[in-house]
């Protein structure tokens, strides 16, 4: 078997991060996780795709337009859980997980969360401490052949974080673009014209 050298990565690539909003973008997240966890780390399919994918938020990172990294977020009352963080091997020297973490922290802050929570392998502890994470307590637990600690980081929600007082149509916007007008605001120009409404009026 001939081996081929991977192409030399662009050292100043264009990095974009967004919410996975279409099934195609979600497939990109799933493929990256399969590549890293199943392909590199021999994780069984059922452990990687554990049943929580359709109750979670998926974030996708592109390098020069190519899917390169991903994170899954799950939302609990008192914290947002960051999990399934991956960066493809060929992009690992670029420190992209810092950008992915920072984006997800910002995303959670804007939604009003005050804590990010992560299950961390010991070898990653020092790195995440630099990002403001610290141990929840001294519990150590095992799953999928690795040893984990629970760590968390305090988040300070911004002034315009979503609350009950937020303008209703802002709550309806795509969650990674809360500052931009969303598709439902554009629909407001049509007024309350659904024929169903008129049918009810006639019935009364």
């Amino acid at each position: 078997m001939t081996t081929t050298k991977p192409p030399v990565p662009n050292l100043a690539p264009e990095v974009t991060i967004k919410l996975a909003a279409t099934s195609d973008e979600m497939l990109q997240c799933f493929a990256l996780r399969a590549a890293v966890f199943m392909g590199e780390q021999q994780c069984p399919y059922d452990e990687e795709f554990d049943g929580n994918d359709y109750t979670a938020t998926h974030v996708i990172l592109y390098v020069d337009g190519e899917p390169a990294g991903s994170m899954r977020l799950r939302w609990f009352q008192s914290f947002c859980k960051f999990e399934r963080c991956v960066v493809l091997r060929r992009y690992r020297a670029l420190g992209l997980h810092h950008q992915l973490n920072a984006w997800c922290k910002e995303f959670a802050r804007r939604k009003g969360y005050t804590k990010a929570y992560v299950h961390l392998q010991k070898r990653h502890l020092a790195m995440m401490e630099k990002e403001g994470f610290r141990l929840v307590d001294d519990r150590i637990f095992n799953f999928s052949d690795h040893q984990y600690y629970a760590v968390y980081c305090d988040l300070v929600p911004p002034q315009d974080a979503v609350t009950l007082q937020t303008v209703p149509m802002v709550v309806n916007r795509p969650e990674d673009r809360l500052d931009e007008e969303g598709v439902l605001e554009k629909s407001a120009a049509r007024g309350a014209t659904n024929p169903h409404v008129h049918a009810e009026r006639r019935a009364n």
């Binding site: 078997m1 001939t2 081929t4 991977p6 497939l27 990109q28 799933f30 493929a31 990256l32 399969a34 590549a35 890293v36 199943m38 392909g39 590199e40 021999q42 069984p44 399919y45 059922d46 990687e48 795709f49 337009g65 190519e66 899917p67 493809l88 091997r89 060929r90």
Partner: protein, 188 residues
């Protein structure tokens, strides 16, 4: 395939046509693990736009998806491609089992010819499985070099083979040889 076990360590080895979204995800996960995770193929080359017009076949060991292959349908031939077996499950001819399922499927649809594009280093494996080169020289350049090979769907009606390349016509929507040169991987 007579040399393919029906079970490995007591776990049944089965193949299945993808019928639901989740089945397709099994196939995509196996390919991503193999081609993106192991062989460093970019995502955009691996998931090339043909996946929703093709048929996917998955191999399971128990409930674990361990192999996959994609079949595209052209008037002149059926084209198995993206053959992948998860690294730690290799050595059991799961690739051969998947290709046999492709052959049976092609037979049930009335196809007479199977066509693959393989890496030059893998030609010997494919020849052992009964495939013939379509052309003597590889197409493409460098790491993307590939060799087209064909096989009769019905072994009792052998093809005229490499001396009659005009028997097979590549249709317009086939990928350029350069784009798929390193796809077909022998699984053992």
């Amino acid at each position: 395939m007579s040399n393919t076990p029906r079970s490995i360590n007591g776990e049944p080895l089965t193949t299945k046509l993808a019928m639901r979204m989740e089945d397709s995800l099994h196939a995509f996960a196996v390919r991503a693990a193999t081609f993106i995770g192991e062989l460093d193929v970019p995502y955009s080359e691996e998931f090339d736009g043909h996946d929703f017009s093709a048929t996917h076949i998955i191999a399971y060991l128990g409930s674990e998806p361990v192999g996959a292959v994609r079949v595209r349908w052209l008037q002149s031939f059926a084209m198995p491609e993206r053959l992948a077996v998860i690294q730690r499950f290799r050595g059991h001819n799961i690739g051969g089992l998947l290709l046999e399922r492709c052959r049976q499927l092609a037979e049930s649809r009335g196809c007479s010819t199977l066509y693959v594009q393989v890496r030059p280093a893998d030609v010997t494996y494919w020849e052992k499985q009964g495939w013939q080169r379509l052309a003597s020289e590889p197409a493409g350049a460098g790491a993307k070099q590939m060799i087209a090979m064909v096989r009769a769907v019905d072994p009792s009606k052998p093809m005229r083979g490499s001396d009659a390349p005009e028997a097979v016509t590549l249709r317009g929507d086939a990928p350029s040889p350069a784009a798929s040169g390193r796809r077909e991987r022998a699984s053992n």
